[in-house]
């Protein structure tokens, strides 16, 4: 293994939690950055990681999600990644996305990336390289939006901050094709810390596909952090696909900041991982910003999928429409916590949240919790949650037209997921995800 870097990050206080300490082994070997602000942020993150512990179900934020299975596996950081070929990742390619950055076990893979012929005003490159060339626009944002003070996983990611995706869309520019950020897990027992920073300047537009996939079925740990900044009037569509191996662990953080009249659409599809957690926080920093937050979790076996979202209406006249759906089979478990805060003075906020859950078996389980905190009086906020089985009336209607019980069952499960999937503005993904839902429906039948 690598030589001891004399210049390694030296804030090596003993961590409070032995598992965190084990995960941190290796991060002290990372070289110093020539950018002192970056070193400072990493050191601050290391200090927090040392002080924090792995959360337990005794903490409110983790009440329904027991992550002790994670701590039974000694994950080590991926220093180098195996060389893969195009053929290895062909099945993950999205034809619509001409621009792609690929990371293998968290390490940037230039051979598997495609950034030739980037349109004018669009920058897509490895973050490590981008820090050298685009330090000025990056500095105000990197590790500024995704708070790590109280979140050990965001802190760990920040300690390891090096490779990652940097996307900058210049003012009023339109990135004509989706940008595919592909994170491939290749080796077992590796912990990887993918990082994305997306800066959509005022009036710009882009579509991102943040995609987590695996080549094998072994256990590994993905701990990604994504920060997305939308300038005034910018429009970003963010598709997050979590299709990790079913024995993997995926604990992701995404922080989004919305400028005035910005429009952010999040389409999150959760299919993989033994245990997954997605912390999405969206802060409305300018008046009149809009967010659509769509989520679909499709889990079976003994999977656990937890989504915690936080919509912070800090300024007036914001709009947020959130629909989170779970399809839960076998003994799987889904968790949804949707927090919406309307700050004092954020008048004319319009927020609507809906959580809809479909249980396919008697042992499937969901915990869904809306959390509305409203400190302004002239606002419109609604929320609702439903948990159910397939509608008997719909089943009967379809069967009365000749469809078999199994066919009707599959079609209704598909339809339940389609409401979310069909809104993804990438046709090949819509088709692919539709097939995945149908396949899973068939095994649940």
């Amino acid at each position: 293994m690598g030589e001891e870097e004399a210049a390694g990050m030296s804030t090596a206080v003993a961590a409070k939690h032995p598992y965190v300490e084990a995960l941190l082994k290796g991060c002290t070997e990372l070289p110093h950055s020539p950018l002192s602000w970056l070193d400072g942020r990493r050191a601050a993150a290391l200090e927090r990681a040392n002080a924090l512990t792995i959360p337990t179900t005794r903490e409110e934020e983790w009440r329904f999600t027991d992550i002790t299975p994670l701590t039974r596996i000694p994950f080590r950081p991926g220093r180098s990644a195996p060389r893969l070929t195009e053929r290895d990742i062909a099945r993950f390619e999205t034809p619509e996305a001409a621009i792609r950055l690929t990371f293998v076990d968290g390490v940037f893979s230039p051979e598997l990336s495609a950034t030739a012929g980037l349109p004018y005003g669009v920058l897509v490159k490895n973050l490590a390289a981008g820090l050298e060339t685009h330090c000025v626009p990056v500095e105000p944002h990197l590790a500024r939006h995704a708070a790590f003070e109280r979140d050990v996983f965001a802190a760990l990611n920040t300690c390891y901050l090096r490779d990652g995706a940097l996307v900058i869309i210049a003012r009023n520019q339109d990135c004509p094709t989706p940008v595919h950020l592909l994170f491939v897990a290749a080796q077992k027992e590796i912990a990887s810390y993918p990082r994305c920073l997306v800066i959509a300047e005022a009036g710009s537009r882009c579509t991102l596909i943040e995609d987590y996939v695996a080549l094998g079925e072994d256990a590994y740990f993905s701990d990604p952090v994504t920060e997305i900044v939308l300038g005034d009037g910018a429009r970003v569509t963010h598709v997050k696909l979590q299709r990790e191996a079913r024995s993997a662990f995926h604990i992701a953080t995404c922080a989004v900041a919305l400028g005035k009249d910005a429009e952010y659409a999040s389409h999150t599809v959760t299919l993989g991982a033994r245990i997954s957690r997605y912390n999405l926080s969206v802060v409305q920093q300018g008046e009149g910003a809009r967010a659509r937050i769509d989520g679909l979790a499709l889990v079976s076996g003994r999977q656990l999928a937890d989504t915690h979202s936080f919509m912070d209406h800090a300024r007036p006249a914001g709009k947020c429409v959130q629909l989170h759906k779970c399809i839960i089979g076998d003994a799987a478990h889904a968790v949804f916590n949707g927090r919406i805060v309307v700050r004092p003075g954020a008048q004319l906020t319009d927020a609507a949240q809906e959580s809809r859950n479909l249980l396919l078996s008697g042992t499937a389980h969901v915990d869904t919790k809306p959390q509305l905190e409203i400190f302004a009086d002239d606002v419109r906020c609604s929320h609702g949650a439903t948990v159910g089985q397939l509608e008997q009336e719909q089943m009967f209607y379809l069967r009365s037209r000749g469809l078999s019980e199994a066919r009707a069952h599959n079609l209704l499960i598909y339809a339940f997921g389609a409401e979310i999937i069909d809104r993804i503005p990438v046709p090949s993904l819509v088709a692919q995800l539709g097939r995945t839902v149908l396949e899973q429906a068939q095994t649940a039948a």
Binding site: Y397, S400, R401, G402, L403, S404
Partner: protein
């Protein structure tokens, strides 16, 4: 179009049906032959819709007595989809909305399933599109409904037209239309009625469940049955429907009570 020697399609003997443990249908006898149109009328709560849903096989409607033969087969041995494939069609009083399932895909799936049972060729999406558009024209339906989810956000009239469209595609041997006229304005009623009349042949039969006589101005029944308290208490011809329209149901009930008491 009554022909005594015509084939019996449906034979109901002493049928009793319970919903949530409460008996609603308390003994119905009815014979429907090919080429016949029957109207079942009666006040609200008389058991008309329960009878219709039990025939189609709704799982919440439990048969507690009697039996039904459909073209000589024991209907209650068949699952709902098998009944549909055998040629039984229920036009729903409240067609169910199925968000997320495209109407066009649903109609094609239903059509091809029934075609396959009959040993006929299935249609691919393009062929089906032409075929279904032709049928929609007859019902004065906007082809835009093909692109929407099944009944999702349709008005009452649109839903009923969609039911008749399904009937036109599936070409059932026996169609039971449950309150198809409710919620239709007079123009829509005419369109739906003419669609039904066009689909009626000497080889099939219709049972119209209706609260009002209005529909029967356009679709002329051979028999009119009055249901009350879960039984058919009177049977007549189309003149009975007109009489019910002018005199209401009370006199039929009194007549029935007198008969039972005697």
């Amino acid at each position: 179009m009554i022909a005594r020697e015509a084939k019996v399609l449906l034979e109901v003997r002493g049928l009793q049906v319970a919903v949530a443990g409460v008996e609603i249908v308390k003994g119905i006898d009815l014979v429907v032959r090919a080429g016949e149109i029957h109207a079942i009328m009666g006040p609200n709560g008389s058991g008309k819709s329960t009878f219709a849903k039990a025939l189609a096989g709704h799982p919440a409607y439990v048969v507690t007595g009697g039996g039904v033969l459909f073209e000589g087969r024991n209907l209650f041995e068949l699952a709902p989809e098998e009944r549909a494939r055998a040629g039984l069609f229920l036009g729903f009083q409240y067609p169910v909305e199925v968000p997320g399932v495209g109407n066009s895909a649903f109609l094609r799936l239903a059509y091809n399933t029934v075609q396959a049972t009959r040993g006929k060729d299935e249609l691919d999406p393009l062929e089906f599109d032409d075929f279904v558009r032709g049928k929609m024209k007859l019902l004065d339906m906007d082809p835009g409904f093909l692109d929407r989810s099944v009944n999702d956000g349709f008005s009452g009239g649109e839903k009923k037209r969609n039911e008749i469209l399904q009937m036109a595609l599936l070409e059932p041997r026996l169609a039971i239309l449950d309150e198809t006229d409710s919620g239709l304005d007079i123009d829509a009623l005419r369109v739906v009625a003419s669609g039904v009349n066009r689909l009626f042949t000497p080889d099939n039969a219709m049972v119209l469940v209706t609260h009002y006589q209005r529909l029967l101005n356009y679709i002329v029944p051979d028999y009119v049955h009055v249901m009350e308290g879960g039984r058919i208490i009177k049977t007549g011809d189309k003149a009975l429907a007109l009489e019910l329209e002018s005199r209401g149901y009370d006199w039929v009930m009194e007549e029935y009570r007198a008969r039972v008491a005697a």
